[in-house]
Symmetry: C2
């Protein structure tokens, strides 16, 4: 089956119709209408087989994860997802693989009302590159910069679950009934939280490279530092049941692929956060505070401060 | 060197500043402003090593071609290029390769005033996926549909040159002083022509898969057919000097990678086309006419009609 037939068969109808799509798939490019009072938010991310996921991962999870990684970046800007383009490079036209992949992809796309408006299919080693477009009221995008000393540091969900799930899969215990395995295979981008935190968060980033690594990017962009309270880290019951406490904490601090959001909130907006928390679609947990002094410090249960080097983690 | 260092070093400053870029590279996503009277035109295209270009091709040509392929799709819609995102998957952080690649990429980006506003770098087999964004006055995008019986069929430049250049490279005669080799390595997207043909062309497509294949897509989308005059095919002197006449014509009709534009013009707009031709930045040549009867026919120098199957080309 040639490229055009593949596209027609698996990728033309995701079931999402948007009035602001002037022209979708099937021409040299898509034509889209951005409302006058909105700014366009755009991000691109690639998943490479054997690098970002085990080659044998079920295809619907690959389709889901590839889209989720991009929708998570939109969420981290406070943008509402709207359109995506999919560039798929694959070694052969395996129809069962494509059917499962597109099922995972479109299931998530529909749940976020995201329309696939363009794409490309090529032969080659498996590579999924998605470009996602979202909309945000002009001037309200949440950025990595903006955190101020005294702001509270929050995280959504349960960091570490996805990394724990990947470890379970790699060790041959990747039963999808395990919550951590589910979180690795089918991460839920925090779109509602991103949108709900407009006007509340002073800075935000998504956790794709691990909490410490990504929070460090936020701190550097904001020119501040932070101390995290290790006792406050919201590790999940499943994570703690699957691994010893030390391993669990390490996964929570450094494990990637969670696609949770890390954000900061000024004190004067904490009550507004508490009022709005039911609309965010996920738990949010305070894990520390922004400080003037650059760098990232960890305070343990006994009140002792330590640097992040003590975790054997130096990638930032 | 890690991903972040690579991005900083080779991809943060392309030297293009745009007032409509609210936030560029360095956050979870870019934030862009689309003017009220414009629609957004978006396309994505991948180049895979060994599939879309010889693995040993000079890196600056790879960078140029990857961007040109996308800008050509924008041109085919009549859109003015504005922003691009680059997802680069590469096996190792070869700094000489990256320096040359980014030089070729940014040279072309600057010449079209295109800003790089986002990207991703990952380890894996070489794959370059670009997503390009352009702007078009609302309602004026040129599409594949719209051609009507009686319209003239035109093509820009000299189709077949790029395919001839690739053949020369593959046979070990890829001297870049040869015009055809230049056209393969450094195709010039027809942005000025695309913009200048707004309001003149009734339908348009870019020739990336070959003149016959892409014109056939236009005909199918417009629900019409066409006859091409083989004697009118604007084959270049270099092409004809490098290959026998039959081979040259075959390359002109079926060779891919040219990134020229094929478009149709209603009779009543031909005089306007002639007035505006000096602004298009390239030659345009009439090669045939749109007809009611579906399909694509070729008329040779003796007036004999033949089907496209006679070329041994059936891919459409």
């Amino acid at each position: 089956m040639d490229e055009f037939a593949l596209i027609r068969r698996y990728f033309t109808d995701g079931g999402v119709m948007r009035a602001d799509t002037v022209l979708g798939i099937g021409d040299d490019a898509a034509v889209l209408r951005v409302p006058d009072d909105r700014q366009l938010v755009v991000t691109t991310d690639s998943l490479v087989s054997g690098v970002h996921f085990p080659a044998e991962l079920q295809p619907d999870a690959i389709g889901h994860r590839a889209l989720a990684a991009n929708l998570s970046d939109l969420a981290a800007m406070g943008a509402e997802p709207a359109w995506v383009l999919l560039a798929l490079t694959l070694p052969e036209a395996d129809e069962r693989w494509l059917e499962s992949f597109s099922e995972g992809f479109f299931r998530l796309a529909r749940s976020h009302h995201v329309a696939l408006v363009g794409g490309n299919v090529a032969r080659g080693p498996l590579n999924i590159t998605i470009t996602a477009h979202g909309l945000v009221p002009s001037g309200q995008a949440l950025m990595r910069k903006g955190a101020r000393p005294g702001d509270a540091v929050y995280v959504t969900g349960h960091p570490g679950d996805a990394a724990a799930g990947l470890k379970l899969i790699q060790s041959g215990h990747g039963d999808t009934s395990n919550d951590c395995v589910q979180r690795f295979c089918y991460p839920e981008p925090r779109a509602a939280a991103g949108i709900g935190l407009r006007g509340i968060a002073s800075a935000m980033i998504d956790i794709s490279d691990g909490l410490l690594a990504d929070l460090s990017h936020l701190l550097a962009a904001s020119d501040v530092g932070a101390t995290l309270e290790l006792a406050g880290l919201p590790l999940s019951q499943t994570l703690l049941a699957s691994y010893p406490a030390e391993t669990g904490r390490h996964l929570g601090l450094t494990g990637g692929d969670d696609y949770e959001l890390c954000f900061t909130v000024p004190n004067e907006r904490l009550s507004e956060l508490h009022r709005r928390v039911a609309d965010l679609g996920c738990e949010v947990t305070r894990i520390g505070s922004i400080e003037t002094e650059a760098g990232l410090r960890l305070r343990d249960e006994h009140g002792n401060l330590k640097g992040t080097d003590s975790l054997g983690y130096r990638h930032f």
